[in-house]
């Protein structure tokens, strides 16, 4: 008897219970057990070529005993994962206004390009003469990033934004070290993403928060007071995580530089200004760029990403290995700290960075061009302000004036209703929308951060706005139960996160005694 039969008991011991059906399925919403519950000994989803006769050289090191992987046929595998996918919300299925994550359309052209054998089927250690096209992609992408940011250099290897932050902060420390200066403190904006302080700590810095002012920007005076000979760098995000442009950013940069520190800018929100404003013109010394946000490389389920880091001249020499450079016979790769790369601070990952993401990002840039990228920023900002203007009377906006690419609300409009930011998010799920980012940034109470991106139509925004107005009204009318119950239309309702953390079950383990076979 097969584990999947047993697994049925996971959702139909109740019989016409919760699901209302015998199968546990509900029309097109189909329940699916774990892979391990579909196991049937001896079944297999692949057919391998036969084993040639050859000397076995493993001897005593040969694995003994069963691993415990389930045996499943290909048709079942396809069905398993297809069914799982249907339990997901995604950009392809609807608005995904997750603030700070820039969930924009991922073009299929980019997928096609990344799969060309010339890119997908090359080994990172092939002789460089056989990968000139790949190095050209890195070089061209680097060129676009340098022109768009106005910075002279870029480190391509970081695998994501936080990895880029690490790269940037290491370059800063290396630069100070090179000057024989020891500075151990880093000032991080109060509203910063968690990766900023975490990164600074990972580089051995102590972290000090820079407060925000009433306008949601960095408190310049306070920051100046915090600056000193022990400060290695200041980490800010611009546009910041409140979706606001740091109006005094150049004064900030000047103050940071005057104090002998470097200005790290978190570029996660670059989508708001790409093609319109160059970070170099704002006094930025180093900034990471999330290719998986601004440049639309897909990162399903949480990754992969790519976080190239643009560097000012003073930090460029310390960029990590490898470097792709122009040599006499085409492109060369510097993989050792010598020559031009003598001061490279080290290495952050294996090989040459996220080539698969590079191809996609380059295809995206070429498709948009200079004119299109400028329009990207314009439409992203326009969409966010349209939402802000349309909802500011129904919800509560903590700050005055226009926003950039995302609209921030706090939970004052829910005061005394008994309804929370979380409840609004869950009610949106029933309405067929992915919720906004909740409770971040921390500088406002019960934050709701909405980033529509430029790839959403006005009609979709109108629909979303209409629903939020209606929900806000219902909250004020005190329909608390509805909100507490939400979501009610999803494959699963609210999940017990506290319970999950109290006794963590982090993997499947074979059931002690076999579950009763309920497949009749």
């Amino acid at each position: 008897m097969n584990e999947w039969s047993k697994a049925i008991s996971n959702f139909t011991t109740d019989k016409l219970g919760v699901s209302g059906t015998y199968s546990g399925h509900r029309g097109l919403q189909i329940e699916e057990p774990l892979l391990f519950e579909r196991d049937s000994e001896g079944r297999c989803g692949v057919d391998l070529p036969e084993l040639p006769k050859a000397k076995n050289r493993l001897g005593a090191h040969a694995r003994k005993g069963r691993i415990g992987l389930p045996g499943i046929s290909e048709p079942e595998i396809v069905r398993h994962f297809t069914r799982l996918s249907q339990k997901n919300y995604a950009i392809d299925t609807g608005l995904y206004p997750l603030g700070s994550c820039t969930m924009k359309h991922n073009p299929r052209l980019n997928e096609k390009m990344a799969r060309l054998a010339g890119f997908a089927d090359i080994h990172p250690l092939q002789p460089v003469s056989t990968v000139q096209g790949a190095l050209a992609v890195i070089d061209q992408l680097a060129y676009w990033l340098k022109v768009l940011t106005g910075m002279p250099a870029v480190a391509m290897s970081p695998a994501a934004g936080a990895h880029g932050e690490l790269c940037g902060m290491m370059a800063i420390r290396a630069a100070h070290d090179a000057r024989g200066e020891t500075r151990n403190k880093v000032l991080v904006a109060e509203s910063a993403h968690g990766t900023n302080p975490a990164t600074a700590a990972a580089c051995g810095f102590t972290v000090e928060a820079v407060p925000a002012n009433a306008r949601g920007r960095v408190d310049l005076a306070a920051m100046k007071a915090q600056l000193g000979p022990d400060v290695a760098a200041v980490m800010l995000t611009n546009p910041n995580t409140c979706g606001l442009f740091e109006t005094e950013i150049r004064e900030i940069a000047d103050a940071v530089h005057a104090a002998g520190a470097y200005f790290y800018c978190d570029g996660a929100n670059f989508n708001a200004i790409v093609g319109r404003v160059r970070p170099a013109d704002l006094g930025v010394d180093v900034m990471h760029i999330n290719l998986h946000k601004t440049f639309s490389t897909p990162h399903g389920g949480g990754g992969p990403g790519a976080g190239p880091v643009v560097l000012a001249a003073a930090l460029a020499p310390f960029a990590p290995l490898p470097w792709v450079v122009h040599g006499k016979n085409g492109f060369e790769v510097l993989e050792k700290a010598e020559g031009d790369a003598a001061q490279a601070f080290g290495r952050l990952k294996g090989f040459h960075g996220q080539m698969g993401m590079f191809v996609r990002a380059l295809a995206y840039m070429m498709s948009h061009g200079a004119d299109g990228l400028r329009q990207v920023a314009s439409d992203a900002v326009l969409n966010a302000n349209y939402i802000l203007a349309s909802l500011k009377d129904d919800m509560s906006a903590p700050f005055e004036g226009p926003c950039m690419h995302e609209a921030l609300f706090d939970d004052r409009f829910l005061k005394d209703t008994g309804v929370t930011t979380l409840d609004i998010a869950k009610a949106l799920i029933d309405e067929g929308f992915h919720p906004m980012t909740m409770y971040f940034p921390l500088v406002v109470h019960g934050a709701l951060l909405i980033e529509p991106t430029e790839t959403e139509s006005k009609a979709t925004l109108d629909r979303f706005i209409g629903v939020l107005k209606a929900l806000a009204a219902e909250a004020k009318e005190g329909k608390v139960e509805k909100f507490r119950a939400a979501p009610t239309l999803t494959p699963r309702r609210r999940l017990d996160e506290t319970g999950a953390a109290r006794q963590p079950i982090l993997r499947w383990t074979p059931p002690k005694e076999p579950v009763r076979d309920t497949a009749e």
């Binding site: 699916e32 297999c44 391998l48 084993l51 050859a54 000397k55 050289r57 040969a62 992987l69 396809v78 994962f81 297809t82 996918s85 997901n88 995604a90 991922n106 390009m113 010339g118 089927d121 090359i122 080994h123 002789p127 022109v147 994501a160 990895h163 290491m170 420390r173 740091e246 897909p298 399903g300 949480g302 990590p320 290995l321 050792k336 601070f345 290495r347 090989f351 996220q354 698969g356 295809a363 061009g369 200079a370 004119d371 299109g372 990228l373 329009q375 203007a389 950039m404 799920i429 971040f440 999803t490 699963r492 309702r493 609210r494 999940l495 996160e497 953390a501 982090l506 993997r507 499947w508």
Partner: protein, 447 residues
């Protein structure tokens, strides 16, 4: 512009609603000095046809490993990935979804990550695994930093058999995070004994199996030695397929396993994106880096999954987090999960056996070439050859004959002349015997 839904009429409507005359007005907070009216000096937008032409041209300037007999490994291996894998990871519901912050509408992602964690735990023989890291190298550095946290010590002992990029990555973190590492010299000819270098300041010993030169070893004794001194054993795996054939780290007493998962489900792609695997013992879970998916129940009592133990993570703990990682390798982890589930027990073990047999065959053929000696006789699907002359030149010569011969050790250890004649050669299920014979014949020619 095909990706932009707004029309000029709609833009005007929206500006009217907002109450500003132009989009520029929304950028009023941008300092004048940073304001640029002219578009950037970059090419204008292009259609699919033109972008395809341009990129296809660049792709054509590379030699795909599959277009010639190819034997490169050194941490990245060319395996056959079933068509089902690439089909499913491209489903929009997977590919265009993000970290499952809202569990009610991301049960699909959460369940496969839970399945991924289970698969990784099973093949490594460990208790628990996380939802992925960037790659094997960064996972190794994180493993050392985790060992430092667990043991409250700051000195790591690193094997000479650890992949050079992993060594450099770990060393870079050590330099900036302020912990020390003691690195043994890479020496394919002696079986290093690291036990001696473990003292009561040692947080962990880091070994690789099979190691960079392809050697398979038993680290049980080293594990005991480490544990006796209160240190942890970190075992790194480059070629995850090996775990279908050799004793898993968990059975050798490993406390942390950091591995590269590319071989299962993921193409070479010039080295990235790949997927870092990270597994450990239950007791250390709260010191782990990265995301974890856990099982729970919903309001109706039905089984479901959520992200859990996030108090370890940067978005909650900020500077006190166990790691700064946020975006990881989700989609590559999905590819891994699908391929691994297609393989299952018999497929995974069979694939490993096939890889070993092919490599063993190839080793015999190449060792028969005059002047060539096989350095290590105990290996999985990759081994080291000593050539009569510098390997780099031999590889260049072979490329001209249409064979990608392997990785010269000097490519990764440029400053170690004693390793200059060594060539790393790998074989997988994708190499035919004809490929192998061609390689052997041409090697003989160029030597």
């Amino acid at each position: 512009m095909r990706y932009l839904p707004l029309t000029d009429v709609e833009r005007q409507d929206m500006l009217a609603t907002i109450g500003v005359p132009s989009v520029d007005a929304l950028f009023c907070d941008v300092p004048k000095a940073a304001w640029r009216d002219k578009p950037f000096d970059l090419p204008p937008h292009q259609g699919e046809l033109q972008v395809e032409r341009a990129l296809a041209k660049l792709a054509a300037q590379n030699v795909p490993a599959g277009s010639v007999p190819s034997f490169l490994g050194a941490g990245v291996y060319r395996h056959h990935v079933p068509a089902t894998v690439d089909h499913i990871i491209q489903r929009g519901e997977f590919m265009t979804s993000y970290t499952p912050y809202q569990p009610e509408v991301t049960q699909g992602t959460l369940q496969y990550l839970f399945e991924f964690q289970t698969q990784v735990a099973l093949i490594t023989g460990m208790d628990v695994a996380n939802a992925s890291m960037y790659d094997g190298a960064s996972a190794t550095a994180e493993a050392v930093m985790m060992a430092n946290r667990v043991t409250r010590r700051t000195r790591a002992v690193i094997s000479g058999g650890l992949h050079p990029h992993y060594r450099e990555t770990t060393a870079t973190h050590a330099h900036f995070a302020g912990f020390t590492i003691e690195q043994a010299a890479p020496n394919p000819s002696v079986d290093e004994d690291l036990a001696a270098s473990i003292d009561d300041k040692t947080s962990c010993v880091v070994v690789q199996n099979p190691d960079f030169f392809g050697r398979v070893r038993d680290y049980s004794a080293l594990a005991e030695a480490a544990h006796a001194k209160g240190a942890l054993l970190v075992v790194v795996v480059n070629e995850i397929v090996s775990l279908g054939a050799i004793t898993p780290p968990g059975e050798m007493g490993a406390d942390i396993v950091a591995a590269e998962g590319q071989s299962i489900g993921n193409p070479l792609t010039f080295g990235g994106p790949h997927v870092g695997l990270f597994a450990t013992r239950d007791k250390y879970v709260r010191q782990m880096p990265g995301r974890l998916v856990g099982q729970t129940v919903d309001a109706d009592g039905r089984r479901g999954w959520v992200l859990t133990l996030s108090t370890r993570e940067q978005h909650i703990r900020r500077e006190k987090a166990t790691s700064n990682i946020c975006t990881n390798a989700g989609l590559c982890a999905l590819a891994f999960t699908i391929h691994m589930s297609l393989l299952g027990e018999t497929g995974f073990v069979g694939l490993a056996a096939l890889n070993h047999a092919h490599a063993s065959l190839l080793a015999d053929k190449l060792a028969a070439v005059p002047g060539v000696t096989l350095l290590n006789d105990g290996f999985f699907n990759e081994f080291t050859l000593a050539l009569p002359k510098p390997a780099a030149g031999v590889v260049e010569a072979l490329v001209r004959t249409g064979v990608l011969a392997g990785v010269p050790v000097s490519r990764l250890y440029p400053d170690r002349p004693e390793l200059a004649n060594l060539l790393l050669v790998a074989a997988t299920e994708t190499n035919t015997e004809a490929d192998m014979d061609e390689f052997a014949a041409k090697l003989q020619e160029v030597l």
